[in-house]
Subunit: 114 residues, 2 copies
């Protein structure tokens, strides 16, 4: 991810899974655009991080791929498997827990977690 924040490490997987849980299927380039759009241009996922991440999730059985030919250009659409769906739930819970623990330690003003 650019606009680098060392804090960010490890959150890319969660982002990918969550976006796929909301969209049925997405291709890599689309994910990079979606993140840029959702963060109003503040974050830009690098392809050097994203593609290896997608390949790893696929190898782990979290994602399945269908290749689609758009004219002469190929797209690789990714979608969640059942295992990937469970993992998404788990990752989201972990992230919320991370936020909670961080808030206990740091007491960030303006942040509320219930």
């Amino acid at each position: 991810m650019q606009k680098t924040n060392p804090i960010v490490k490890g959150s890319l997987t969660t982002i990918v899974l969550k976006l796929l849980s909301e969209n049925k299927r997405m291709y890599g380039y689309e994910i990079t655009r979606r993140v840029r759009e959702l963060t109003n241009g503040e974050w830009q996922i690098t392809e050097g991080a994203l593609y290896p991440s997608l390949h790893k999730l696929e190898a782990e059985g979290m994602l399945e791929v269908t290749i689609e030919q758009m004219g002469n250009r190929a797209r690789k659409y990714y979608s969640l498997t059942q295992k990937g769906s469970k993992e998404t739930t788990k990752k989201m819970a972990e992230l919320k827990s991370f936020f909670e623990q961080m808030q206990l330690i740091l007491n960030i003003p303006g942040l509320a977690i219930k």
Copy 2:
């Protein structure tokens, strides 16, 4: 950090700086206990992560050290320099921004940032 959450990577520095900004001076072992206490035992900073992190912050001029002899045992007390104090403010702002961007992407229920 144990209870490993890959997300956590990069947040240790911020935690150390923030705790020191609230305590004037702390020693390494004390920091590990404080984090455990604040998170009700959920997080346990590993010494293999903490000590190198403290050394790095010292080398960067963020922290200064005074060694104190407690009987036969030595403690290394760390405290923020002026530079470290500025860095703390910066890191905390970055962390809040990270939370905000993550919330834009993930929309975690129960989380509010103003």
